[in-house]
Every structure is written in C-alpha cells, then in structure tokens.
Symmetry: C2
Subunit: 400 residues, 2 copies
C-alpha cells in the first residue's frame, strides 16, 4: 500500500479480545510492510480503561518499529466507556484518538469528540496533552451533525446536551451566582454556546438578513436567500422575537432545499374526534404541478400519503421525530423523517411553525434526497445525469 500513498493505517479488528503476543506479531509485520499508523480498535466496546491502557502499553513496548509510527485507538461505546478508554490510551502514549461528533457510530457509537476534547482541554493540568480543535465550534458542529443525520442528542449528554450547562437545583444555582467556578468547570462559551442577541425584526431588509446569516456561517445563493427572506418576513409577522435558532433553522432548511426537485406549493389538512383525518397537497417540479388528496390515521399520515400519491414514490417510514427549536408555543417545529426507499435509508428534515407543514416539508425533503441519490427514477436519471450522481448512498459504511 505504501507504494501508492504516504499515509497507511493498519487496524487489527477486535484487538482487545485477541492474544496480545499474536497481536504484536501482526503489528510488527504491518509496520515492516510500510504502515505509518497502527490502530488498536476496541471493536465491540468490551475493554475497561486499565485493561485497555495495559494493551496499548504492551503494543508500545513489544512491537519492533512502533517508535517510528503513530499509535491510534478506535473505541466503541457498548459499555459506555469509549471516552474513558480513549483517554486511558492517550495517557500511556497513543497519539491519535478516532472519535465522532455526538459520539455517533455503529451500535452505541464511538468515542464522543466533544468529550475527548473537553477532557483534554479542561484537565490539561493532569493529562498534559493538547488537541488542535477549536472548541468554540463544538456546539454548532454538534447541532449541525444532529440536524443532518437525524440523530438527536439527549438533554443530559455531556458537553453538548441541552442541560449540560443548566443548573437546576437551588443549591447549585446559588453556588454559580456567588462564584462561577464553584459549579462550572467549563464555560458555555468555551464550546461556542452563546445565546447572542439578534436585532432583526419585521422591518429588517435582505441585506441585514444576509449579513446576520453570514455572521452565523451560512452562505446562501440568491434564490435561497430570497426564499429565506420570505420565510423570515412571515415568521417576523407571527413571532415577537426572532432568535438565532430560528434563523439557523430557516437557513439549514434552505440549504437542504434541492433545486429542480419536488417543492411544496400548497397544503391543507384537518382532523377531529370522530372525523377522518384528511389532507390535500400541491407540489411542483420543473414547472409541472402534482396534486393529490388522502386520508390517514392522523394528519401527518394523511399528508404524507398525499405526497406519496402525488410523487408516486413508495417509501416506508423508519422513524419520525419532532423537536421545538425555540421555546414557546409559537416555536418552529423541526421534523425529521427517515424513510426506507428500496432498502436504502434517507433522512429528510423540514421546519415550520405548523407541525403538519413541517412534516410535509420533511417528507418531501427525504424523497428529494432519495431522487438525488439515484434511488428513484433510475432510468430517467441515467439518461440525464452525469456519472457520479449515483452510488453515493452505499459506500459510506466501513468496518472496525
């Protein structure tokens, strides 16, 4: 492999349940063959911190040539110890920790990037290590990953959970007010959690919106900005306060809106006790209109069935989630829908103060992603599209 690239990582699956002596030989052979990174994975999340540190130390002391390569660890979280194991390994000399934002990964996930980074950062005094990570981007990154993957973060998740910096009990609140260090070992600002004021209202113009969005890191094209502006005006008419999170929701929604695919033009729905939930939708795509009506077990079911009819896309619902983006009943509803289209999962999201409309947007977004990934209308796409549009969906999952 070294003939083709500079950087070759060798990983021994399930290292923590292997015979260490055999493992040393395998790693030695890999280094001889040109590996530049030796990875020690805890593939099924079985190791305990002391035990794992012992294994890493063993590798560092017994593998010939190990001093010339980078030692890496890749821990899974099946027993909730991925972060502790990674840290234990770093303390005995591993210098690469494979981790993921929000701790995402196979099964219970991998070591959580934000926890690993903030441990090293907060406890420099004890661990004597550094990372190159700009911690102020952690919170935004976590939200973005959560929005795009459809995997929510539980409120009591360390560092990036909604409650991570919330002091509820009276005795703690009192302590924080009197002396901040009492209960805060990290500042919310350290991870980029700032509830910054926003001075946009219904009289603000396009330029003000554009400037604010760019300050937040969102760069929309002209069409996207125009649509975002219309939605911003609508929202400003309804809500007293427009928050950073509202703007973020609109911007992300526009970034997700795929051009020249199905767009929601119109929808209507109703239900009641003893009445059959009913919905009507009108979609457009490349100038053509698609209309349908449907009934369902609830309005969400009805509106999604109507969209399915209008688009002629058959899909199975895998999961459905809603979260309120801001507080108050006039909050934007943020709906995530995961569909199974022909055995492939696609995630769609939509936001709106109306939960049914948000659901419709999420469903359409998922279908549009399915189309973009080439899961639907393969023949039509094959004719029109350039190579490379397809196949993106299947090559994402890797081993270890």
């Amino acid at each position: 492999a070294r003939k083709y690239v500079e950087n070759v990582e060798f990983s021994a699956m399930d290292a923590t349940r292997s015979d260490p002596k055999f493992l040393y030989q395998v790693y030695a052979a890999a280094i001889k063959a040109g590996a530049t990174v030796i990875n020690i994975p805890d593939t099924v999340g079985y190791a305990l911190p002391d035990e794992f540190a012992e294994l890493v130390k063993g590798v560092m002391e017994n593998v010939p040539g190990i001093e010339n390569v980078l030692v890496s660890v890749h821990c899974h979280n099946d027993l909730g110890l991925a972060v502790a194991n990674s840290l234990a390994a770093a303390r005995v000399g591993a210098r690469q920790i494979e981790c993921a934002v929000n701790g995402l990964g196979e099964r219970a996930g991998n070591a959580s990037l934000e926890e690993v980074v903030m441990i090293i950062n907060t406890r420099k005094d004890y661990v004597d290590l550094t990372t190159g990570v700009n911690t102020r981007e952690i919170y935004q990154t976590s939200r973005l990953v959560s929005m795009l993957t459809g995997y929510n973060v539980q409120p009591n998740k360390a560092i990036v959970g909604d409650n991570a910096f919330a002091h509820e009990s009276g005795i703690h609140q009192d302590g924080v007010l009197k002396h901040r260090v009492t209960y805060e070992i990290m500042h919310p600002e350290d991870v980029g959690l700032v509830e910054s004021e926003i001075y946009l209202g219904k009289h603000s113009g396009r330029h003000a919106l554009k400037a604010k969005l760019e300050e937040m890191g969102f760069y929309l094209d002209d069409k996207g900005l125009e649509r975002a502006f219309i939605r911003f005006k609508e929202l400003a008419g309804k809500k007293k306060e427009i928050t950073v999170k509202d703007l973020e929701a609109i911007a992300l929604d526009e970034i997700r809106t795929l051009e020249e695919l199905f767009q929601l033009e119109y929808m209507q729905s109703s239900s009641g006790t003893g009445a059959i939930p009913i919905a009507a939708v009108k979609l457009s795509r490349e100038g053509k209109s698609y209309e349908a009506t449907a009934t369902g077990d609830g309005q969400v079911d009805a509106v999604c069935k109507a969209i399915a009819k209008a688009t002629k896309v058959k899909a199975k619902l895998v999961s459905y989630q809603v979260q309120a983006i801001t507080k108050g009943l006039d909050a934007m509803g943020d709906v995530t829908i995961k569909l199974d289209i022909d055995g492939h999962e696609v995630v769609g999201r939509g936001v709106s103060p109306d939960i049914i409309e948000a659901s419709a947007r999420a469903y359409i977004n998922a279908i549009n992603r399915g189309i973009q990934k080439g899961l639907l209308e393969k023949k039509k796409l094959a004719r029109k599209a350039k190579a490379g549009t397809r196949g993106k969906a299947s090559s994402r999952k890797a081993g270890s």
Copy 2:
C-alpha cells in the same frame, strides 16, 4: 443524626477538588459522629478515573474508622466520565455507586445505572464484583423513566439506546450471522429487550387485553382498563399489527390519566397554506363541560391555546417533543410537553395516531399534573384537599 435513624450517609460536596488531608479529617469526624455511609461525590464531574481511584484509595487508607462504614461514590457526567469514575472507585473498594436510570441528573447527569450494571455483569472476569440488579428489567425501566420524565434517550446511548444492539455495517452484520459472539458482548435479552410476538387483534376481548397488559407489568383499574380497551379497539381497526409498544403506550397513557381532572371529550383542527390554523376543543371535568376555540401559528399552537382558554390555566411552554412509538406512518405519536406554571415545571405526555390529538392530550395531562401538584387553584384545593397534596413539587431537588 444517628439518634434518629440507623443509616446515616455523610457526603462532602466537591470532594474531588478539596484538599485530601482536610477531607480525611472531615470524614473521620463524620464517622465519629455516627455516619454509616461515607460518600465521595465528584460534584462537578471534574475527576479523571485514575485520579478519582487515587482519592478513594486515599480515603480508605487514611480515615480512621473507615473500615466500619460503607464507602460510596456519586459521580457527575460533565466530562462524560461518570461511569468510568464510578467503576474505578469500585475497583479500589467503594461498595455503593450512586447512579440513575438513563444517567439522568443535574446538568449532564449522573452515572448511568444501566452502564454500571452491565459493565460489572459483562466483565465479571475482570472486575470480580456483582450487583443485585435484575438486568432483564433494565430496558423496560429505561423506557418507563424516559416516558415519565420526558427526557429522551439518544439512539446511540449505550445499553438502552435504540441502536445499542443494531448492527448496521455489512461487515458487522456478516459477523453476527456467522457467529453471534463476534459482535455481541451482551445479548439484547439480557437487558430485557425482546420484541415478543403479540396475538391480539380486533377480535380480542377485555380479558385477553388485561392478561397481556399484566404480563407486561401494567395493572389498570376497571375504569382505566375500560378506556384502554376502547382505544385498543379503535387502534386495532386502523392498524394491521398491534405491537407491544402500542399497548405499552396506551397503558402508560391510562396510568397517567388522572381521575376527576380535565378529560378530552372532543377536538377538531385544521390548517393550510395561506389559511389560519384553527382548533376547537371540548373538555370535561367532574361532569361539567368546557369548550373553546382558538387560532394559532400552527395547529398544535391553536389546540393548546384552545385548551388554555377552556381550562383558564396560564402556562408557558418549555419544551415540546414528538416521537413515533412504532414504525410506519400509522405509528402512535408520543408527545411530551413541558410547561412552566408559576415557575414550576410540569411534564405531560399523550399518545395518539393523530399528532394533534396526542399534543392536546399531553397539554391536558401537564395541566392536570399541575393541578395535582397544587400549583393551580390553590384556594379551591386548600378547601377540599387533605394535607399533603401540596408541596410535592418543590422538595424534589437535592444537592451534591
């Protein structure tokens, strides 16, 4: 304190950032004064495992009389290390781990019970400890706690997350099929995660439902069972398959339904692009009817405003969440609403295949809980109720 009770636990707040020598003296004094449990809390989740083990060891070796008391630890999860720290302490002799189901607790929470238990259970070979916990109740307990507190569990949470036992990548799936131990260090059954078959359909009677519910651990009174049966029949008419999770949702909803408080009799709602969302509700309480209509930013907003009008309860929405209980678009929607009533938070939940109805049920449930906790109608309640109905809401939060 020992004069009044047998079991006295002494806890030294923020022990991990205290001077150990001083800490030894404090603990020694507490033991002299009669403490039977000495608790070492990591109040702000600041400690690293080795460091914490060192502290616990120090206490065990340097505090006079420590051999006659139980050493306990109470770890917080601010850096994601609560479980690892608790385990490290247990390995040097602590014999009480204070933990919480789903890792709930102040800020990022406490050590997660299910992770602590499953580590000790799965790695008996290494840690040589046992717990008295029946692990087969873990999954159900986690779901129940999540439903009752309104704190969701993220899909990649160890042990009890939706994905904890899901193998997604091809190489892992292949491994599991060939030899289960390859990727499963625990069996889903070990924690009580069983997708058991259910043979109830639209022709099943009350007795079959009652028997099945009791098998699942739900004991409803006659009224509750009658209402559950009606909802079961409705659902069986709509859905092909009734799952254990559907039944669980109905049973929990009935358990939550508080007698003689507001009940939902009727509701109707609709919205559309360019149309104003509108809702009408009819509630009953102790034989009286309460009706109202309202408009809102979305149907959820409209229906909640209508309920607020009908009940005359002023409340602020703190959070709103929806999850689908089962797969498919005909899934039951499970809505959690957290309200702020006069500075006190109450959580309400409601389930229905119709998300707007589920929202209405959740809102009413939250208001009913507020009433039950004595947050509303204090004068009226004071006249009617016996002592002890009030005050329950405020005394829950404790220190450390």
